[in-house]
């Protein structure tokens, strides 16, 4: 649903046109540079399918571009470096925390702000709590300085303090011009973050006010 009054029509940064995949009807929307669009809808409605399609992780049709640069004209790894995706349940491929980062010590300021000890680089991932993993996954995605972040309930497992810290960090990124597509079940959080949202229901996506 293209909206002439949407989140920054014209100055669009992330532009999605007729994006379609199994489980999702064609969808069009823009996310302007430095703005956040929340994504809402019941479980199983297709929110994750939408984020995965934008990240090009599953076969999909339609066009997605960033600053007039079409996704299909660049290698997929380059696209995913620009458009970072943080899934609801982040996965880990190595034993210890630091192995998942290109430069673990350099992330110390972010790690501290999220309430995590900086010496956890050698900790085995298997022993971390869900909340700790979620925060580390956020740091891991931010480390690559993406222009767009696709966030699937990034604060669902966090206590209030950690959630506020995460929101503050992401607001700073917004101020720097990063765009966010943020899946949340928390109505108050959606209102704090954005004025516009995508409502996903049974694979149908509509844009509306929060």
């Amino acid at each position: 649903m293209a909206t002439p009054h949407g989140s920054g029509y014209g100055a669009a940064m992330l532009r999605v046109r007729d994006l379609v995949r199994p489980g999702l009807s064609p969808v069009s929307f823009d996310v302007a540079s430095g703005s956040c669009l929340t994504v809402r809808g019941p479980s199983g409605s297709g929110k994750t399918l939408l984020l995965r399609a934008i990240a090009d992780l599953d076969p999909n049709g339609g066009s997605v571009s960033l600053d007039e640069q079409n996704r299909d004209r660049m290698p997929a790894p380059a696209w995913r470096t620009l458009v970072g995706y943080v899934p609801a349940e982040p996965a880990w491929w190595a034993d210890t925390v630091a192995e998942h980062f290109s430069d673990w010590p350099a992330n110390a300021p972010l790690v501290t702000r999220l309430g995590l000890p900086t010496d956890m680089g050698t900790a085995p991932v298997a022993r971390l709590s869900t909340g700790e993993r979620q925060r580390l996954a956020l740091v891991r995605a931010l480390e690559r300085d993406p222009r767009v972040l696709l966030l699937d309930e990034p604060t669902a497992a966090l206590d209030e303090t950690s959630r506020d810290a995460a929101e503050t960090i992401l607001r700073e990124r917004l101020a720097e011009g990063v765009s966010l597509l943020w899946v949340t079940h928390d109505g108050a959080q959606a209102r704090r973050l954005s004025k516009r949202c995508l409502n996903v229901d049974k694979g149908q996506v509509t844009e509306g006010d929060v």
Partner: protein, 267 residues
């Protein structure tokens, strides 16, 4: 050569052992006598048939007929690779990927061995080509089926971990590195184990056969070493080819993991 030919009476005497087997099954109510009978009849019939086929082929020494029989052997090996997969690739790939890997690996190894080390006259003489091919195929087949099976099972298990790397901008090669290495190791391990245990735990069948046929043990051992090298070469070529091709098939040009190209395992 001091080689003792067996008469059919000798074979009938040996068969007494199988009959005892059947009597035991009846006495202990193992319910195996039917299977035992079928297996024995099959064993005798199949071996006699192979004997006749080989005798004919050795008399003909025809490149065409030898190639044809070799092709049938490769075809059966490819089918066996497919049958041993818990999660098969969908469509023609289930058969084609393993088959192509076996074909390429065994062809390279066989032509190399027959034209340089063995140098039979002519090089494609079925007396050398077919037994050697059989041994190379048997082991290559095991390596490929183990490698592919490990690759597909572990990709399904580690899907989230592989995709986590893709999400962060890794290319498909990097994202699947750990899984591919594991599959290659599993595929090659039986051959490496067989090489280190050979001679200590069991005497290889081919070597034993040559010794029974009157060959000098040291000469038989030299042949066995050659065969082990051929097997190692065939297995590694075939396994690397099949696992890398499988990894390529289970991803696409947009660096996505494509597990939809696997069939659901039959329960």
């Amino acid at each position: 050569m001091s080689y003792i030919a067996l008469t059919y009476l000798d074979l009938a005497l040996a068969a007494v052992l199988v009959v005892i087997n059947g009597i035991l099954s009846l006495a202990l109510r193992l319910n195996l006598e039917k299977q035992l009978t079928i297996a024995t009849v099959r064993m005798v019939a199949q071996l006699l048939l192979v004997g006749l086929v080989l005798k004919t082929l050795f008399a003909l020494v025809s490149p065409l007929w030898t190639t044809l029989v070799a092709a049938v052997m490769v075809g059966f090996a490819a089918r066996e690779v497919m049958a041993r997969q818990h999660r098969r690739l969908s469509g023609f790939w289930a058969y084609g990927l393993g088959g192509a890997s076996i074909l390429v690996a065994s062809t390279i190894v066989m032509i190399f061995a027959l034209t340089t080390q063995i140098a039979a006259e002519p090089w494609y003489h079925p007396r050398y080509a077919l037994p050697l091919l059989g041994m190379v195929l048997g082991n290559t087949m095991t390596g490929i089926s183990l490698g592919l099976d490990t690759l597909t099972s572990n990709l399904v298990r580690d899907r989230a971990a592989v995709e986590a790397r893709l999400m962060l901008g890794a290319d498909r090669r990097t994202a699947m590195q750990t899984t591919v290495r594991g599959a290659l190791r599993t595929g090659m391990m039986p051959t490496i184990n067989a090489m280190s245990a050979t001679g200590l735990v069991a005497l290889p069948g081919m070597m034993t056969g040559q010794i029974l046929a009157g060959a000098d043990p040291v000469e038989a051992v030299k042949y066995q070493i050659l065969v082990m090298c051929l097997i190692a070469g065939g297995t590694s070529l075939g396994t690397v080819g099949a696992v890398l091709a499988g990894a390529a098939r289970l991803t696409d040009g947009r660096h996505r993991l494509r597990l939809d190209r696997l069939r659901q395992p039959e329960s």
